[in-house]
C-alpha cells in the first residue's frame, strides 16, 4: 500500500542524506521526497511517499525513528488527512489548441501562469491522482515539460505533527 510519511527532522546538513541513504541501503521503495524548513528554523519537515506491505512500512518507520536526526514522524495513512501536490506543465500551443487547454485547466482548477506565442505553463495543485488525471486528459504530444513537487500532506482536525 502507498503511505505518506511526514517527518520532523533536525535542520542540519547531512540529515537528508541519512534518510535517503537509509532507503537505498535497506532497499525500501521511495516514490517521492520533499523537504523544506518549518516555522521553527531548527526543524525541517519532510514528506516521503513509499509503498510496501504493513510489515515493511513498520520497519521503515522504526528505522526512520532510529535516526538520531529524526525528531518525530507520523504515517498519514493512519489518519484522515489531506494530500496536495503542486505541478507545473509546459505545453505547446497553437490557435486551435489554446482554447481546449484553457478549458481543461479550468475543469481541473488549474491556472495558466505563463503565456508565450507558442506555449502555456499550467499550474495546478491537488492530490497526486488529480494531477495524473490532468496529464492523461491533455494531448501527450503537446507536453514539453512536467514539474511536480511530490505530495505533501497534513492530518485533519486538531491532531498534528509538532514538538
Amino acid at each position: 500500500m502507498r503511505h505518506i510519511i511526514s517527518i520532523l527532522i533536525e535542520n542540519e546538513s547531512g540529515a537528508l542524506s541519512r534518510v535517503a541513504g537509509l532507503f537505498s541501503a535497506r532497499g525500501y521503495n521511495i516514490e517521492s521526497l520533499t523537504v523544506a524548513p518549518t516555522e521553527d528554523p531548527s526543524l525541517s519537515r519532510m514528506t516521503l511517499v513509499t509503498r510496501g506491505s504493513d510489515d515493511i512500512i513498520e520497519q521503515i518507520t522504526k528505522q526512520l525513528n532510529k535516526l538520531i536526526d529524526v525528531v518525530k514522524l507520523i504515517d498519514l495513512a493512519d489518519s484522515v488527512h489531506i494530500e496536495r501536490e503542486l505541478m507545473m506543465v509546459k505545453v505547446k500551443t497553437n490557435e486551435q489548441t489554446r482554447e481546449e487547454i484553457r478549458g481543461m485547466a479550468d475543469i481541473f482548477r488549474g491556472k495558466i501562469i505563463d503565456v508565450t506565442p507558442t506555449t502555456y505553463v499550467v499550474e495546478m495543485t491537488g492530490p497526486s491522482s488529480k494531477l495524473d488525471a490532468f496529464i492523461a486528459a491533455i494531448d501527450g504530444d503537446s507536453i514539453i515539460e512536467v514539474v511536480r513537487s511530490g505530495p505533501t500532506g497534513i492530518s485533519r482536525g486538531e491532531k498534528g505533527l509538532h514538538l
Partner: protein, 578 residues
C-alpha cells in the same frame, strides 16, 4: 579554562574517564597528537594499521563494557578504520572514533587525503558528526559518548577538520555533565501491560525456552537472566553473541542455537510452544529458513531497539526496554503471581530435551592420530581453568571455540558475529589484555584470519600485552572449504594458499615466542608451557586435521529440526584431499 581544539578533544577524553586511545597519526591529526604528547592521563596505543586500532578498541569495549576510543587521520587512515567500525556496528559495540579531516575551507575540493568520512561511515555507525565550530567541540564529544553508550550501543564517528584543532585558537572549555538530544530518548523500562501479558504466557507454557543474546551482555543483565531462568526452571539457549551471559556449565543451559548450535537447542526451539527472546535479534544464522522457524511457538521479545522487534520474525508480545530493568519487572511479577509454571509439563519437556541431549551432537573422534581442533579447545579450557578471555577470528576455529569452551561469565567470549570480520582476533586480544593485564587472554585463530592483522604482533610487543595465540592451522580457509565440500562437490576454489608463512619464525621476528605442535600428545604440554610464560606473547601454531568440519550444522535453506549431524558419532571424518 581556555583550551585549543586539540586540547579540548583530549581533555574531553579525560573527563569521560577514557584510559586508552588506539590510534595512528597523520597530517590531519598532528595538532591532536601534539596535545597527546603533552599529557599522560590518556594513554595512546600506537597500532600498526588503523583496522587494528578499531578492533583493539572494540575488544577493550567488549571486555570492559566501556566505550573504546580510536583516533585516525583523514583519508586512508579513515578508510582503513571502516571495517572495524562496521564490525562494532553489527555487534552493537560502543565506540567513539575520532577521525581527522582536511581543513574546513578546503572540504569538498578533493584536497590531499580528503574523503567524505561522514558519508562513507553513515551506513555503519549509530551516528556521526562533522565538527564545524570549535566552541561546539566539547558538547559534540559529550554527545558522541552519550549516543555510543546508551540505548542500543554502537560506534559514533566524530570527524574533526584540522583547523578546528588549531593550537592558536583558544576557547573557554567546560565539559557538559549531561547532554540531552531532543530526538533521542531510548526506552529503559518496559511497558507494564506488555510485561504482564508476557508473564501470563510464560506461566502457562508447556514447552518453553529462553533464547537470549548479546543484549544481555551489553545490558549487564547476566545476574537477572540467571535468576529469571532459575526461577522459571526453563531451558535456556544463547546466541553466539550471548555466550557467557548464562553459565554454560549450568544444567539448564542447552548450548548455543542456530547454524552451528547444538541439536538439543535447535530441536527445543523447533518444538517449543513459548519462546522468550531476550536481547537477541533473530539473525538468519539463528533462525535458519524463516518459514520453518519455530512453527508452534508464541514469541515474547525484549529488546531496547524497537526496530529489532518483528524485523524478520513476527512476535506476539513485544517489550521495548532494557533487559535488566525489564527482567527485574518480570521477576517481581512472577514472584507475586499465584500461578506457577506447570511442574508436570516441565518435567515432560525436560525428559524430551534430555533425549535430544543424549545424541551427543558435539562428540568427535578422540582416537584420531591427527590433532583435532575440538581437542585443542577443550585443553585450552582446562589449562585456563575456564577463566580466560577468549578472542577469536572468523571461521571454523571460531565455531569450535564457541562450542568447546563453555563460558560461565559474560564478556569473556569476544568475537565478531554480525560482520564476521577476519583479522579481528589479534588486535581485540591486545585491547582486552590492556584492560585486564592480570587475566589470561587467548586468541583462537586460523591460518588465514591471523594473516589479516598479523602486523599487530608488533603492537603487542611494544605495549607488553602478553597474549597466547592459538592458531588452529588447517592450511585451509576451513569454513570456506567446508561449504565447498557440502555445496560445490568439493571444488575447493581458492580456499587454499600454496604458501603459508612459517608462523614460528614470524612470531620470533616480531619478538615473541613461537611454538609448532603437530601431535595430539604435545598439545597439553605446549599449552601449559605457553601459559606459564606469563610475560611473553606466545604463538602456538597447531597443525590440526585439515579436513575436519564443524558439526552439527543447519545447511542453508533448512529449518532447526533438520540438522546435519556428524556422519556417525565417534568416527573420523578424515578424508584424503587432492
Amino acid at each position: 579554562m581556555e583550551l585549543n581544539g586539540a586540547q579540548i578533544v583530549i581533555q574531553s577524553l579525560k573527563d569521560e574517564g577514557v584510559e586508552y586511545i588506539f590510534g595512528y597519526p597523520g597530517g590531519a591529526v598532528l595538532h591532536l597528537y601534539d596535545a597527546i604528547f603533552q599529557q599522560d592521563d590518556v594513554k595512546h596505543i600506537l597500532v600498526r594499521h588503523e583496522q587494528g586500532a578499531t578492533h583493539a578498541a572494540d575488544g577493550y569495549a567488549r571486555a570492559t563494557g566501556k566505550p573504546g576510543v580510536v583516533l585516525v587521520t583523514s583519508g586512508p587512515g579513515a578508510t582503513n578504520a571502516v571495517t572495524g567500525i562496521a564490525t562494532a556496528y553489527m555487534d552493537s559495540i560502543p565506540m567513539v572514533i575520532i577521525s581527522g579531516q582536511v581543513p574546513s575551507p578546503v572540504i569538498g575540493s578533493d584536497a590531499f587525503q580528503e574523503v567524505d568520512m561522514v558519508g562513507i561511515t553513515r551506513p555503519c555507525v549509530k551516528h556521526n558528526f562533522l565538527v564545524k565550530d570549535v566552541t561546539k567541540l566539547a558538547e559534540t564529544m559529550k554527545k558522541a559518548f552519550y549516543v555510543a553508550t546508551t540505548g542500543r550501543p554502537g560506534p559514533v564517528v566524530v570527524d574533526v577538520p584540522k583547523d578546528i584543532t588549531d593550537p592558536s585558537i583558544k576557547v573557554p572549555y567546560k565539559y557538559p555533565k549531561k547532554v540531552t538530544i531532543r530526538s533521542y530518548n531510548p526506552a529503559v523500562t518496559g511497558h507494564k501491560g506488555q510485561i504482564k501479558k508476557a508473564v501470563d504466557l510464560l506461566l502457562t507454557a508447556q514447552k518453553p525456552i529462553i533464547y537470549s543474546g548479546g543484549g544481555v551482555v551489553l545490558g549487564e543483565a547476566s545476574k537477572e537472566l540467571i535468576e529469571f531462568t532459575h526461577t522459571l526452571g526453563f531451558p535456556i539457549t544463547n546466541t553466539l553473541m550471548g555466550l557467557g551471559a548464562y553459565p554454560a556449565t549450568d544444567k539448564q543451559f542447552v548450548g548455543m542455537l542456530g547454524m552451528h548450535g547444538t541439536y538439543e537447542a535447535n530441536m527445543a526451539m523447533h518444538e517449543s510452544d513459548v519462546i522468550i527472546a531476550i536481547g537477541a535479534r533473530f539473525d538468519d544464522r539463528v533462525t535458519g529458513k524463516l518459514d520453518q522457524f519455530c512453527p508452534h511457538a508464541q514469541i515474547i521479545h525484549i529488546d531496547v531497539d524497537p526496530a529489532s522487534i518483528s524485523k524478520t520474525v513476527k512476535v506476539a508480545i513485544p517489550i521495548v526496554g532494557e533487559v535488566k530493568p525489564v527482567l527485574e519487572q518480570m521477576l517481581e511479577m512472577i514472584r507475586e503471581s499465584k500461578k506457577k509454571p506447570s511442574k508436570k509439563a516441565l518435567e515432560n519437556w525436560w525428559n524430551q530435551i534430555e533425549q535430544w541431549r543424549s545424541v551427543k551432537c558435539l562428540e568427535y573422534d578422540r582416537e584420531s592420530r591427527l590433532i583435532k581442533p575440538q581437542y585443542v579447545i577443550e585443553q585450552l579450557y582446562e589449562v585456563t581453568k575456564g577463566d580466560a578471555y577468549i578472542t577469536s577470528d572468523v571461521g571454523q576455529h571460531q565455531m569450535w571455540a564457541a562450542q568447546y569452551y563453555p563460558f560461565d561469565k559474560p564478556r569473556r567470549w569476544i568475537n565478531s558475529g554480525g560482520l564476521g570480520t577476519m583479522g579481528f582476533g589479534l588486535p581485540a586480544a591486545i585491547g582486552v589484555k590492556l584492560a585486564f593485564p592480570d587475566s589470561e587472554v587467548a586468541c583462537v585463530t586460523g591460518d588465514a584470519s591471523i594473516q589479516m592483522c598479523i602486523q599487530e604482533l608488533s603492537t603487542a610487543l611494544q605495549y607488553k600485552t602478553p597474549i597466547k595465540i592459538i592458531n588452529l592451522n588447517n592450511s585451509y580457509m576451513g569454513m570456506v572449504r567446508q561449504w565447498q565440500e557440502f555445496s560445490y562437490e568439493s571444488r575447493y576454489s581458492h580456499s587454499y594458499m600454496d604458501t603459508i608463512p612459517e608462523f614460528v619464525k614470524l612470531a620470533e621476528a616480531y619478538g615473541h615466542v613461537g611454538m609448532r605442535i603437530d601431535k595430539p600428545e604435545e598439545v597439553r604440554p605446549a599449552l601449559e608451557e605457553a601459559f606459564a610464560m606469563k610475560d611473553r606473547t606466545v604463538f602456538l601454531d597447531i597443525l590440526t586435521d585439515r579436513t575436519e568440519n564443524v558439526y552439527p550444522m543447519i545447511e542453508s535453506g533448512k529449518g532447526h529440526h533438520d540438522m546435519t549431524l556428524r556422519v556417525a558419532s565417534g568416527t573420523s571424518t578424515d578424508r584424503e584431499l587432492a
